[in-house]
Symmetry: C2
Subunit: 344 residues, 2 copies
């Protein structure tokens, strides 16, 4: 660590400016600008060559900030996620980045840590970049005290020509790439009933996240004649482990299947069950949501609901600034070994 390399080039000088390359090439600033960054290229070939030569000789890179001020529009898009290390968000980020790069845009990522206040603070900050678009990928919150502030901030952004795209629940007055939380949960519940399951528990995640709430409510709502225990907690693997442990301590009576509202929690729950020596799916079955990559690699492979997260990320930037994107596949139940058919 701390390998502070000593470099020869001790003297640091300012980066070459357009003016420098213009002078070097013996042309005017405007001409240099035109050949290097201008749109309609109507420049003498020889001049153009000289400018290019000078530019590469000087190692010139256009100052994007200066371009942004002059043009009145920057070339980046801002992405807010709850937690970039979470596969749900890193998949979305991959999609956003791919689509943005395709449009020649650069992506700035900030992490909200699932805090409404932090989210607001960050859009305020990122607004300063005058990005072409702001994409909010995190879940909305059930507590809407901060909602108005966020909307106001976003409205101001839109009012000055910015574009906003949300990924998730369509409940803010901005373009949204919907993530189907309710429908998928309902389908999952139906599929599980069809498989013979009758007693359920839900690891519901944080009560203040709409994503979690929607999945929980839709699941429970689709099972009107079945008992469903609900345990709240965090959205993480550790929380899934804890919630499952609590459930085990409470006895597990009547529970044939545990639905964790995301795969990360489901994996934590499976670990808890394993540590307690409880057989999955022999004693209890487990299901998750999202279909993250790990879902098919755990044993038994995890039944879940597939979401096309990368596509959602791409769609968000397409929605905000145009460009191609695939039609979003609907949420689909993926039945795997963690929920075998039950023969009562």
């Amino acid at each position: 660590m701390r390998v502070l390399k000593s470099r020869l080039k001790l003297v640091i000088e300012n980066p070459p400016t357009l003016y420098d390359v213009a002078r070097e090439a013996g042309v005017s600033l405007a001409t240099a600008s035109r050949v290097l960054n201008g749109s309609t290229r109507t420049v003498n070939e020889e001049f153009a060559e000289r400018v290019h030569a000078a530019a590469s000789q000087l190692g010139y890179t256009p100052n994007l900030s200066a371009q942004a001020v002059a043009r009145g529009a920057s070339s980046n898009v801002a992405l807010l996620v709850s937690d970039i290390a979470d596969p749900y968000f890193s998949s979305i980020a991959a999609g956003v980045i791919r689509a943005a790069e395709r449009e020649g845009l650069v992506v700035t990522i900030a992490v909200t840590d699932r805090k409404a206040a932090r989210e607001i603070q960050l859009v305020k900050l990122l607004r300063g970049q005058r990005p072409r678009a702001i994409v909010l990928a995190g879940s909305r919150f059930t507590d809407d005290s901060d909602r108005a502030t966020l909307v106001a901030e976003l409205d101001a952004f839109v009012g000055t020509g910015g574009r906003v795209a949300l990924i998730g629940q369509d409940e803010l007055p901005f373009d949204t790439v919907p993530i189907d939380n309710s429908g998928g949960s309902r389908l999952l519940a139906q599929a599980l009933v069809e498989l013979g399951y009758r007693g359920f528990a839900v690891l519901a995640g944080p009560a203040d996240l709409i994503t979690a709430r929607d999945r929980t409510e839709a699941f429970v709502g689709a099972l009107p004649q079945h008992p469903v225990a609900v345990v709240y907690g965090d959205f993480s693997r550790a929380a899934g482990y804890e919630a499952m442990s609590a459930l085990i301590d409470a006895g597990l009576e009547g529970i044939e299947l545990v639905f964790a509202v995301n795969d990360v929690m489901a994996v934590g729950a499976m670990a808890a069950l394993r540590d307690r020596g409880i057989d999955v799916p022999g004693r209890v079955a487990v299901a998750g949501y999202d279909d993250v990559s790990t879902a098919r690699d755990v044993t038994p492979a995890l039944t879940t609901v597939r979401l096309e997260l990368e596509d959602a990320g791409e769609a968000a930037v397409a929605l905000a600034i145009g460009g191609p994107h695939r039609q979003l596949a609907p949420a689909a139940v993926v039945l795997r070994d963690s929920t075998p058919r039950l023969s009562h």
Copy 2:
């Protein structure tokens, strides 16, 4: 999808400028600048209040680009990763973002897709942001034809006051947060020999990635008196699956343990073994590298080498622009169920 919400505020106007708030507050531009963004605040309290009031009333957000041009320095750091959806890189990104936010900086992320040319292209592009630092997290390449170009680009950046930090192999003339690929592989090999393993295969990943090469060579080098089969491929789960399949097709004779040079591949290999009905660790043991979260959730739990990737990300920005960071823990072998002690 494509929920194009119609908003009331049809007229889009330009964002309020510092000049606007100054006028609104009845003070000069300079004064407004001082109270809002200036360093040494030596401003009449009443003026200050008026400015703040005007700013929030107008919804003013300082134009970061303009600040950057005027100040000659921006407030962001650029991060290049191979693939943001890969847990190795999303962990690093989490660390980089955390550290950067702590310093009031914003992180721009670009994806190189493990292409040397793309990497160069991206640093060239991102240099245009005049970021405070550029962090390169992807592996270096064995083919050094592009190396000089990259170094030149980075050198130019440093020559103009930029900071560069690499994460990975310390083989470019810039500050580097080392990732211990060789040492960990060696420790792993020793631990495995100690457990009784005698015949090995390595899923070596891409031949042109130094990270992959170092892990492979160190592992092989630590086992001078043992046969080691090496299979090259990609760095992905799918590639791990394929490479393992090839190995199975080839017979698997004499192979007691398969070392995949990263966990993602190892997980793919385990899937291949499972699909072929080959028992792990009964018939072959498996080990990986990185200790991604999934490693402990597969069955059997995967033996691997732990790297503190988030810490590495934080350390990189600390190295580049200062700030606190934890001492990096050395690579550590984590023995799990996929490599039980062998009783020949």
